[in-house]
């Protein structure tokens, strides 16, 4: 990654992070409700068989409704989702090669199972990406950690996640500066393993010193090994309604073929 690419990655991270400062009703919901709904969503989507395509499409209503309801910038969310498509394409590509039995007929042309399942993999990848990105955008990372801890995640991991989150950008910028320095001095030659090792070692020592300073500063402020979060929100009726509503819809979409019903109804109305 070149230095601008590193910085662009960090910028993307920050933009997504900042979305969580929004002030919609969805933002104000208890984070546990949003985490639970997201997990149910992912499990429902991934439980479809390998040739499911049409039945997956109605599930896009979840990320789209949250994006609209929380007034998130649709283009940013969409761009982050589309980013996973190249990887999904690569992991889906073997399917058409290995699975050549004709499965589906479109206008008299047979389509092999592999193409269908590849399409399914790409839709799954998009839905999975949409789920986590929308969750972060509407909840915020610290709140997700708090929710996970209240659901049962061990405290050391919660503390670890919060520390990581706080220092990600700081060390990312350190790394970007190192890459810039290397690019300026090397004339664009790629980095050797030996140099990479020395550079990482240097970054590591700097990180270590920073940890010492952070520790002393936190001790001076009464740090006892854990973070104290501000007020804790409660799981009230809005949260119950939110969880019940979405989970009900997901189960309905999972057990009843709404897509097929919708298509048949539309075709019937046209005739």
């Amino acid at each position: 990654m070149s230095a601008p690419a590193v910085l662009a990655g960090l910028l993307d991270f920050r933009r997504l992070d900042l979305l969580a400062t929004g002030e919609s009703a969805l933002h104000r919901l208890d984070a546990r409700a949003k985490v639970i709904v997201t997990l149910v969503f992912v499990v429902c989507v991934m439980s479809f068989g390998r040739y499911s395509v049409a039945a997956l499409l109605p599930f896009f209503v979840f990320p789209i409704a949250i994006t609209g309801g929380a007034r998130l910038p649709a283009t940013l969310i969409w761009r982050k989702i589309v980013l996973v498509l190249p990887i999904a394409l690569v992991i889906g590509l073997p399917n058409p090669l290995f699975d050549r039995e004709p499965l589906l007929e479109v206008g008299g042309i047979g389509v092999s199972g592999g193409w269908v399942s590849m399409l399914s993999i790409m839709l799954r990848a998009m839905l999975a990406a949409a789920a986590s990105i929308v969750l972060v955008a509407v909840t915020g990372f610290p709140a997700i950690c708090g929710a996970l801890e209240r659901i049962g995640m061990p405290r050391p991991l919660a503390v670890q996640l919060l520390f990581l989150y706080r220092y990600l950008a700081v060390l990312g910028e350190d790394a970007a500066r190192m890459v810039t320095a290397h690019e300026l001095r090397s004339g664009g030659r790629p980095m050797s393993i030996r140099l990479y090792g020395a550079l990482l070692g240097r970054l590591l020592l700097r990180t270590w010193d920073r940890a010492e300073r952070i520790y002393l500063a936190m001790c001076a402020r009464g740090f006892t090994g854990e973070f104290r979060s501000g007020g804790s929100s409660r799981f009230g009726w809005p949260e119950i309604a939110y969880v019940a509503g979405w989970c009900g819809l997901f189960l309905l979409l999972r057990t009843h073929d709404v897509t097929h019903w919708l298509g048949a109804a539309t075709l019937g109305a046209l005739q």
Binding site: M1, A54, P58, I64, G68, G113, A176, Y196, L200, G263
Partner: protein, 344 residues
Amino acid sequence: MHMADALLSPAVGGAMCAVAAVTIAHCSRRIRNEADDRRVPLMGVLGAFLFAAQMINFAIPGTGSSGHLGGGLLLAILLGPHAAFLVVASVLIVQALFFADGGLLALGCNIFNLGFFPAFVGYPLYRWLAGTSPGSARATAAAMIAAVLSLQLGALAVVLETVASGISALPFKTFTLFMLPIHVAIGIVEGLVTAAVVAFVRRSRPGILPAAVSSGSSIAGTAMTFLAVALVLGGVGSWFASKSPDGLEWSVAQAAGAAAPGPQRTTVHVTLDRVQQEIAVLPDYGFRHEGAAAAQPQTVPHAGLENAGKARVGTSVAGMVGGAMSLVFALLIGFALKTRPGRR
């Protein structure tokens, strides 16, 4: 080498999440019992370090591709296995949430594949091979062997998780034959980089390393763990991403390119398919099933068969129209929610 949600069934994903959760709970208990406050910020910042380190790439000699550090083994050498496992887990959680790397259901797989093996198999092996005050050649060799072993187990785990899920059509043998050799190469590079960083730290700040090493696991215990886990699943991966394809993606692409044509279906797939057909509430409407196609000529008269064919085309058209309609509805709902009168 991230495992992806899109290739995973809920049963496999859920099982691996449970395994990861148990390991996290165990490591957390160990960390809490050690009660070393100083280590808390150190672990956090080292997680950020790992993140930053993965943004810097180096050239892999002779391949034209580039790679970066996986880091599980390095963290275990610096922090000990339990803390290293938690740090790797935290990095993966952040990657899944902010960068949609892998996904939420695949988190268990990824934490296990990339965190468990370097910390609890690779690291004890490294300690055993490298001894107490290793020379540079011995340390490098130890790091390389430990990294290669961890990566082999990780690659194997990805293959097993993929095949057991049955979403990808890749046959087990083809996938394995491409994953394992590639991850030998990745492991050698990972070992070299790990050894280079450790050597650098040892030269410039020797005080850091010994402070970190209470391993707490004997080689016999390690062998048992290794055996148990080798039977189940395994792995660590180098997160070989960046401009050039990731190790996993590369090997999938290669396996696909060199694939023998024609359907190859393992018994696992057939069994899983059958299970899927039976538990699915609506088994693949609009699709032509092998069994159905074979059974029909005897039971259905000719005209009936043609009608059945038309009906199938009809259902798939209905599926497509319905899919388009549901997307339109979803967008309308999103739009309506966005433009509704503001209420604060």
